[in-house]
């Protein structure tokens, strides 16, 4: 392949576009990790095979694309060019989709999306409320391109921004454009990207590095993975532009090892980019040399912290270090280094291509552009949503997310991962941007949004996050290593019904010490889940401590499962499903749970038919009286 220059890039683009018939049918299958887990590859194979059997494989394309984001409804299949949206496709649907829809244009009513509220069928992807209410800029192309095919990216305008920057702009002008756009770092910190680049550019030295932080460690957040897997070239192009602006010769993409598909797709994309001369020496005939390496992480949450990440690339333990010096002055191997997150890099080509003016019209005064959130937990429409900054939590959770699962009541939404906090219902209407979330005691973070309902115990959630940071604490500094452990111990006692008066105050004191005394962000922000739950749900802590009661009925040690004799019809499902044989009773007669043997796995409650509803969980005083009665019965026997 001849190396590209700007003219050849444009020639290649028109060649690809004109060789493709826009009316030619294409069955696109979402290839994100969610759909992979649902078995989309088998479905894609079935489509290919059955098209071949029918002799249609030369007339109809099959394309495995990047993530469509609506993971709840996977595996997702979209028939182009009409954009017919089919969801929850099974192997036995494949033949019908080909014969009826692709060949005859017939819509299959069982496979289209049905609005759960109105019951109306929605045929086109763009009309599904989950998508129509989003503003998909970064994710716009995910569903149209095969991430392992650079030609798809080029056909959609790929590398036009890089070509513009490298050949028509000066590095300072690129930085000015990014500054004017108002882009702020998407990894959580929210530092102005253009300013960061400028600082690194101004540091003398000719060996500079770029890093793309793809160590997306926050549990429940997966938008960066989706970008890398689904549209890796958008990130690579961002890096090329950044390298030109800052004057870097080499870059690393540090990918979490839990994301094997992202590692694979990025590696393939880099090979193709090099082959076309978009990486390597004399890129696009501009005289710039630049290359990118992929670094597979090894499983440590702290390596998402920038100084730890650099230690990891250097082949050492991922220990954070004191800043300053900041990476811009002394980073990887002591050289000036600029580090941005995946989503930040993916924003860059858009800004250069469409201009800072276009970009800065999206969002709020202090937070420009869109942000991708991973909307997960007790939500009807689990998935990745891209929205303009400034939209309210309510719009995301209820309008796009479709509200809470099983008609339950919204309790809180956790943002920002282990460094963030839980936001209660009273803040649902506040607009989302970097500053308002901080005011609510949480952070934007990288974009995880975990929705919780009335069945989630806030003390348990705080304990979960503290346990997480405690296990992931690298152990370098004492406040984090010892402080988080002390906090976990107290929280564990509270969830076990062994809390004592004074525990809350001690938690608050420890939180302050850990916050002030820790070296890196992991430690400094680790008390946030405790502090926000204490701020908004203090009564739940008090119930646990003073009344041995878990209002959400989630803490195992504070609940009992109990069968209502009057409601039980003696179907025996519970006793059959109890893994420890703790449920007994004759057929068609009320069953009883042996409280001493019960391990509280909840299997009985899961299988008790909803219309019978004989099994309930109890906590607090009611729990104590049930246990007392059970004990009395046991003694009298």
């Amino acid at each position: 392949m001849k190396k590209l220059n700007p003219a050849r890039l444009e020639a290649l683009r028109s060649e690809i576009v004109s060789s493709r018939d826009p009316k030619r049918p294409c069955i696109t299958i979402c290839g994100g990790t969610g759909c992979h887990a649902y078995g989309c590859l088998k479905i894609a194979d079935a489509f290919k095979q059955q098209l071949k059997q029918r002799g249609l494989h030369r007339k109809i394309d099959v394309r495995i694309t990047g993530c469509h984001g609506f993971c709840e409804r996977g595996p997702i299949v979209v028939i182009q060019p009409e954009g017919i949206f089919y969801q929850r496709i099974r192997m036995d649907n494949v033949a019908d989709v080909i014969d009826k829809t692709v060949v005859n244009g017939e819509i299959l009513p069982d496979l289209v999306y049905r609005d759960p509220e109105t019951g109306k069928s929605v045929t086109k992807e763009a009309d599904v409320p989950f998508y129509s209410l989003q503003k998909r800029v970064i994710f716009a192309n995910n569903g149209y391109l095969d991430p392992t095919e650079i030609r798809d990216y080029i056909a959609l305008g790929g590398y036009r921004a890089a070509s513009k920057a490298l050949l028509e702009m000066r590095p300072e002008a690129v930085i000015e454009e990014i500054k004017a756009s108002g882009l702020r770092g998407r990894g959580g910190g929210g530092f102005p990207t253009g300013r960061k680049w400028e600082i690194c550019r101004d540091v003398p030295g000719d060996a500079k590095y770029l890093i793309c932080n793809a160590d997306e460690g926050d549990p429940g957040a997966y938008m960066d993975r989706s970008l890398l897997e689904g549209n890796p070239h958008s990130v690579i192009e961002g890096l090329v532009i950044g390298a030109f602006a800052i004057g870097a010769r080499e870059a690393y993409i540090y990918v979490r090892m839990e994301y094997p598909l992202a590692v694979k797709n990025v590696t393939v994309a880099l090979d193709q980019t090099r082959e076309l001369g978009l990486l390597g020496t004399n890129i696009l005939d501009s005289g710039m040399d630049f290359d990118i390496h992929v670094f597979k992480g090894a499983g440590a949450f702290v390596s998402g912290e920038e100084t730890s990440l650099m230690a990891s690339i250097e082949g050492r333990r991922a220990f954070p270090r004191q800043r300053p010096p900041f990476p811009a002055e002394s980073g990887l191997w002591g050289r000036p280094t600029n580090i941005n997150n995946v989503e930040t890099w993916a924003n860059v080509p858009l800004i250069i291509d469409k201009g800072a003016g276009w970009y800065s019209r999206i969002g709020t005064r202090g937070s420009k552009g869109t942000k991708i959130f991973s909307l997960v937990g007790k939500i009807n429409n689990t998935g990745l949503v891209e929205v303009p900054m400034g939209i309210s939590l309510r719009e995301i959770i209820f309008d796009i997310g479709g509200g809470i699962k099983d008609g339950k009541k919204f309790k809180a939404v956790q943002t920002g991962g282990p460094s963030g906090g839980c936001i209660p219902a009273e803040h649902l209407d506040s607009p989302i941007d970097f500053d308002t979330l901080n005011k609510a005691g949480s952070i934007m973070g990288s974009g995880g949004m975990i929705v919780m309902d009335e069945d989630n115990c806030m003390v348990d959630v705080a304990r979960y996050f503290l346990k997480f940071t405690q296990e992931e604490s690298c152990g370098k500094c004492v406040p984090c290593r010892v402080g988080t452990r002390q906090m976990v111990d107290i929280l564990t006692r509270i969830t076990q019904g062994e809390g004592k008066p004074g525990d809350i105050e001690e938690l608050e004191e420890l939180a302050e010490t850990v916050r002030q005394g820790s070296l890196c962000g992991l430690g400094q922000t680790s008390p946030n889940p405790v502090l926000t739950t204490l701020r908004y749900f203090r009564k739940e802590y008090e119930d646990h401590i003073l009344r041995q009661s878990c209002p959400a009925k989630a803490c195992k040690d504070l609940i009992v499962y109990f069968i209502d004799e009057d409601k039980c019809i003696g179907c025996g499902l519970c006793s059959k499903n109890c893994p420890v044989g703790a449920v007994s009773g004759e057929r068609k007669k009320a069953h009883v749970i042996d409280q001493a043997a019960c391990i509280k796995c909840g299997a009985c409650l899961d299988v008790c038919p909803p219309k019978v509803g004989a099994i309930s969980r109890y906590t607090g005083r009611k729990r104590k009286s049930i246990l007392k009665q059970a004990e009395a019965k046991r003694v009298s026997k």
Partner: protein, 154 residues
Amino acid sequence: MQKILNDFPPDQKELIHVLHRVQAEFGYIPAEAVDAIARHLKISQGEIYGVMTFYKAFSLKPRGEHVVTICMGTACHVRGAPRILDEFSRELGVAPGETSPDNRFTLETVNCVGACALGPIAIVDGDYHGQVKTNQIESLVRSIQSPGKEPADK
């Protein structure tokens, strides 16, 4: 082992790459490998043990024939992952993070696999099982114990 090392220049920055390769090749990092890596990269064995034990990717002991991984991400947690982990641990007779004495099973947890729509998730030998309920676990475990039989509800 030497064949693996030949692919890497003798530089500390290669350490994590080398360890990944050895782990993939042997399923763990044998003590002899540490010795060979130390000599090849010209760093101390202590440095290597430090790195190996710091990161979750590397194991000092061989893992079981079958690996069951339970996602403990937040989305899975709020949907009941702890109950799922308890039940797997009980059915397999293996504590989380441990391998059974006969080396047949390893039970592990992971912080998040990013397939949150499917939570709670159990990954059995690389196969994802989504929206797992406690009462499905027994049949899942049986299907691993006697291969060939697919679990009833996948």
